[in-house]
Amino acid sequence: MKRTLTLVAMLMAGTAAHADGELHLYNWGNYTSPDLVKKFEEKYKVKVTITDFDSNNTALAKVEAGGSGFDLVVPSAGFVKIFAEKGLIQELDLSKLPNHKNIDPAWMNVEWDPGRKWSVPWQWGSTGVSVNTKDYSGDINTSAIFMDPPPELVGKLNVVPEMGDVLALATMYEGGKICDDDPAVMKKVRDALIAAKPKWMAMDYSTVEKMTKHDYSATVDWNGSTLRQRLAVPEIHYGYPKEGYPLWMDNVVLLKDAPNAENAYLFMDYIMEPENAAMLSAFARYANGIAGSEPFMPDDMKGAPELYPPAEFKDKGHFLTVCTGKALEYQTAIWTELQK
């Protein structure tokens, strides 16, 4: 009966392709290298479907309802814990993942999954500042670029309208921590942001376009976005604020009710092969967390300063979490005032 239904399902889905097995990946849209998927399908004769989600919350809601049919999901850092706590994912059998040893030591003992027993790296990145050094030649590794802008940048500066990232940078600049709920600190953050705002030109998302056209001289930006700007305009550089900057990472987890767990292990192991991790990066344009993948990266990403933070700034990155309670209240209040 089940087989008949599956057959009907396949006919209805219009997939005539015969495959030895299947694998259902549930991922952010436009994030999975089609070349990598083809290579994997040919090697293991497994038919891979990719289904998109648009937010961690959507993914969580669908998986939590049960019977989703997915094998692997790619949630962001903080959400791995939530998936685990709700009992939606299974602890990985590391004996089935010989490439587990390729995980970069920096990404092995992450706060949401020490020892990487529940999740393997997909892609990661950071939020910092993008500066056109034609206009400003001073130190760019600081949030002062937008919190206390040098005269050269006043009025030519953009801040992306992303509450979590901007407030994380601002709070760390004022000596606090991500999701700080100390009213004294948050008061300082608020005053500093309100004082800085008149020196900004805009709060806008289209940084790649406007930095490369030189409408802006500097902007708060994501590293992958600055990489694209630098490839177009070599004078644009990415700064890692030494006061602290936010990091994000998406991770592959195996669902407890995965119908094709064996194929899921094959896939997880496959993407931890340095050559294949580089393929993911070549498509998504972010770093991957697998040691030794750099030689396989496309030429324009090899040694890219946006992807590989210099040693002195490595420990300044902190993972962005979803703030709750008082911390969120302060953030929302500051943000609302800032947007006026």
Partner: protein
């Protein structure tokens, strides 16, 4: 002689407001369509005409898969909902007014009133349970769900046509010894056909555009064009999304034009 009747068009600023409303409604779509022919990477800076993004979109397997899904679901849902809506329309008009008629209308048109997210969450819970129980994860769920919310869109034009149709023709057919089935087959149905096609087209378009319900109940590999586009949001948007939107818009316009041609009065 002074005009007696009130006309809204005489109000001061009527044409200004009307122009502003039309601009707000259509200007964004014009921009979207124009930029789908942009040569550059950006969905908002013009760099010359090209069809590149249509090629990019068409070469993308995920887009192809989503298009096929969208068309299968919309076709099946339109047929299913139109058949049901036709029965419902016949059942609620070709008889004497009955107690609870308004209630029935409200029941049939429920998808127009209930917030879509509520239906989506409810369907998520129910389909998840059915999926677990049966193991079936095909397009059937999406087809049935789409058919359900498409019913009022098919029902309304069919009912409107039935209410406007002269009952004497059917009475005459019955007088001439036509059986009820013959009357229906030879008189009612041919007269009703344009409204049925019109209803089917509205249902098709409604199904094609749906995001929320689809996002919640889709199974692996069942992205439709709108959910595929939604998935692009977090990553840098490129003009291929404009190209897909333009194609969807064009298809919708063609179907709505057909709807208009079928429903306009002949005289």
């Amino acid at each position: 002689m002074a005009r007696r009747s009130f006309s809204v068009t005489d109000l001061p600023g009527f044409s200004t407001v009307a122009m502003m409303v039309f601009a707000a409604l259509y200007a964004p779509m014009v921009v979207l369509v124009v930029y789908s022919f942009n040569q550059g990477q950006s969905p908002a800076t013009w760099e010359g005409f090209s069809l590149d993004w249509y090629r990019v979109a068409w070469a993308n397997d995920e887009v192809k898969n989503a298009t096929v899904n969208s068309l299968i679901i919309a076709t099946c849902a339109a047929i299913l909902s139109t058949v049901l809506a036709t029965f419902a329309a016949l059942g609620t008009t070709r008889r004497k007014a009955f107690k609870g008629q308004t209630f029935i209308y409200a029941m049939i048109n429920q998808p127009l009133m209930v917030p879509e997210i509520v239906t989506a969450v409810a369907l998520l819970i129910v389909t998840a349970a059915i999926k677990k129980f049966t193991g079936y994860a095909g397009l059937g769920y999406l087809i049935v769900a789409h058919a359900a919310f498409c019913i009022p869109f098919a029902y309304l034009p069919i009912r409107a046509r039935l209410e406007g149709m002269d009952l004497t023709l059917e009475t005459a057919a019955a007088d001439l010894y036509a059986s009820p089935w013959q009357t229906f087959r030879r008189v009612t149905l041919p007269l009703l056909a344009p409204a049925i096609f019109a209803g089917a087209m509205l249902a098709f378009v409604t199904s094609l555009d749906d995001v929320v319900i689809t996002e919640f109940i889709k199974s692996p590999g069942q992205d439709t064009l709108p959910t595929y586009m939604l998935g692009q949001l977090r990553r840098a948007m490129k003009p291929d999304v404009n190209a897909i939107s333009t194609a969807l818009l064009a298809l919708t316009l063609v179907l709505l034009s057909l709807f208009y041609l079928l429903t306009r009065k002949k005289d």
